[in-house]
Symmetry: C3
Subunit: 350 residues, 3 copies
């Protein structure tokens, strides 16, 4: 990859392309995005979180992206956007296009003669593409990645280095898959039989929609019989485990280190916090938010936020509450007894 | 890998090979296994969980595998088996044999002249096998995998692509190792000395028995001094961390995302739920079941089920219980005081 | 790698090189370190934990490393050291030097003509080094590893096989990076816009100091705008997730399976237990210890030990306490009411 020198844009050009309302000198040139704290005059910063209001007063940024509530309250050039963080994402994408990569197959890549490679595809060094696999137009396949027999990678997808896609799995268009991700390994299907585990063949696939991003070292297992399904627009962070036959609804975002057990069905537009778990065979409704470190053990039928992390404390305080917690059932009984005694005492008196 | 067209079997052939009792038309042909829900007439389904009894009435499957309690209660052809899920596993293995792979070393594989490769071995593209490593007969080593100096892979093992086996580690017969697994990296051995961490060399190995399966991106560290041991028939799901000098007893099954800290010893036939943890230097008896998201902080001497996940709730309810939990020690004291006061009140009256 | 036959050292040679005080026969030769339990007469063991005092009486070791409190209390040869575990680490390093590896670039390695490779560097098979990357003197780059465009690997570093370093990332001197680690994948930056997630380009880098060790399958994301920073001497175990813009202070040690969310800042000399989590945008002071399975949800301003794991129990007992926990807020109210009633009862009497 060759990285181009960053090109600069005037604020006028930016609002011309991306909309928003510019207040201030339209001729200011910016070359890069920046945080308010580290901005220099040739950069554009943003404020999406009131926590950083203080930094707005001292930033050296050439311009800043803000929400409606700060319109015209600033001396510096600012762009007013309905959603400053999304606007910032667009500005950053404008200033930081993916470096161009020449189409072509690296001579060290090992591509089966019956694999199908679309136009404009870049296949990096040491990539292996097996029999019957299909890589659609304008994909980039990073060094050392593996695309198994009959697997399909949709148009415009980007596989970073050392990704493994097992046989028969399907990725949609514009997928981004980070290094070390494994798509389509066998689900954990075992049956106990005469004191030994029998392996249950995992004959389903992983089928992934369009515009899905998959983080580094995330694993998505193939289905046991039917397929594991990831719908359009799902965003998975790093080190997530998606078990066999899970179904994740469109536009759900899952933070790092989450594990989803077999056959659970997650709704659309859910947000699942880091290191949470979803037990197997559950259904989670649309628009459910799960807090970090929460284990969901029952289906969730209503949108809302659900939580189940132990509140951390100093070890000294924790020891006390944790010891009491072991006896909480008994404590509850003691309170019930006290209530009865007090009630009887009153009756006795009356 | 070339995938054969699925061959069909008559029900008579199936019970002829696998046992069980057939009730219904022995000439029915099935080509694949299926879920009750999605079955077609050329498939065979199974019922191992009463939760799916309703689907049994409407399935289009050509036949179904059931337990004794449903014998002759169905109009459709059915095979009665003592353990329907295990029987299903055997049927699926019969209908879905691993695709044949020609023996041979891919020309891009880099195999040290002092490595020993058994007969019938398939070594995929870009595999690296170092000095003194030994790969026994009928193994398949997936593309991009690495077998370190002096490592040994037992007969009939299957390493999927991009597996790393460090020097000196030993895998038994019929191992299945999924992509991204790392066997034999250094354990986390550090000693604080004059405000800096010294590395403690990790000179043990990983020694793995027969019939072990290791999931995608699972890591098993080599021993610090003695070896890390995984006994026969252990089944490890994805993204598990096994620290140095852990010993896992035969036929134990561990779900995804579990972490086992250094030198702990897990018994035989244990089942450990997803994302659980075992602290270091503990002993877990045979036949122990650990629920998901449980941290085991003391040795477990008796078989049974152990649990320690925070019960999840709506965020609103959780906030209330979690806040109270911080004061639970104090609450316990208050209840004790109430009990004393009430006791004294009674004495005062009597 | 070729493994040398272990060389033996006399106890006199060991204290000559490493200090400590020898009591007993200085001519005893040892060839390897060992645990007390499995030691043979040609090995040296150590006692750093009183838990193993019983083994000291029956060990067959040729010599043992102990602390001051055991000076001259043993019949066998012993070396007295202020910090026996650190002394043991040094002895083990003396007896187990890294096997020598010849400098040179494996012919299968694919090294961009504009990459810079220092003297004495060993580049293994199938390694890919991209445009503008720099690998300083005496590094070893393991088979199948990937060093992205413009990335820098400091002097004397060791990358094990199948490591991925994304473009522009910087590793300091003497780094040790284990297999499957991914350094510099995109942070999880997404902005919701008109019911779809927009990707926020991740333009920062990962910048890692000297003497850092990174475990197998650990992932460290590049910064969203500014860099993700790992200071000198940080030790990361396996399967850790470090999100974008995290800053980890020098000499902090983190156990396996920990997740640190975006922009959090961890102090120096912290110790974080396995599978813990640090929520985003927090600050953790120096010398903080976090217990295993703890989720830190607020900044920690003072050194000390902090804990938040649910105490595990038999499933039967857990069910009882967990059910009560859901009603703990209500129980607290009931106790308050009892206190009021008792107080009023007393007032009524007086």
């Amino acid at each position: 990859m060759e990285y181009p020198l960053p090109k600069s844009f005037s604020l006028a050009e930016i609002v011309g392309r991306l909309g928003g309302e510019l207040i201030g000198d339209a001729g200011i040139q910016v070359r890069q995005v920046a945080t308010l704290e580290k901005a220099t005059p040739d950069t554009i910063a943003f404020l999406a979180n009131e926590r950083y209001l203080g930094q707005l007063k001292i930033t050296r940024a050439g311009a800043v992206i803000v929400g409606e509530q700060l319109r015209a309250s600033l001396d510096m050039p600012h762009i007013v956007a309905a959603n400053p963080y999304a606007y910032f994402a667009r500005v950053s994408a404008l200033l930081n296009p993916l470096p161009a990569v020449a189409a072509g197959l690296h001579p060290s890549a090992i591509i089966h003669p019956r694999a199908i490679i679309g136009s404009g595809v870049h296949v990096g060094p040491n990539v292996v593409v097996e029999d019957g696999a299909a890589i659609a137009a304008d994909c980039r396949i990073g060094a050392g990645s593996y695309v198994g027999a009959g697997a399909t990678i949709g148009e415009g997808s980007l596989l970073h280095p050392n990704v493994t896609v097992y046989h028969g799995c399907i990725l949609g268009k514009r997928a981004v898959v980070h290094a070390g991700a494994v798509i389509g390994a066998d689900g954990f299907g075992i049956a106990m039989d005469e004191k030994r585990w029998l392996k249950v063949p995992q004959i389903g696939r992983v089928v992934i929609g369009d515009d899905v991003e998959i983080g580094a070292n995330t694993t998505i297992d193939r289905g046991a019989i039917d397929d594991t399904i990831i719908e359009d627009g799902v965003k998975l962070d790093n080190q997530i485990q998606v078990a066999h036959n899970v179904h994740i609804g469109a536009h759900t975002a899952i933070a790092a280190c989450v594990g989803i057990a077999g056959s659970s069905r997650i709704g659309r537009y859910c947000r699942i916090g880091g290191a949470s778990g979803i037990a197997g065979h559950l259904t989670i409704a649309d628009h459910v938010e799960i807090s970090a470190h929460t284990l969901v053990t029952k289906s969730v039928r209503e949108a809302g936020t659900y939580t189940g992390a132990y509140p951390f404390d100093t070890n000294r305080n924790w020891r006390r509450s944790a010891a009491s917690l072991r006896n909480l059932g008994e404590l509850t009984d003691r309170v019930r007894l006290l209530e009865q005694q007090l009630q009887q005492g009153k009756k006795g008196k009356s």
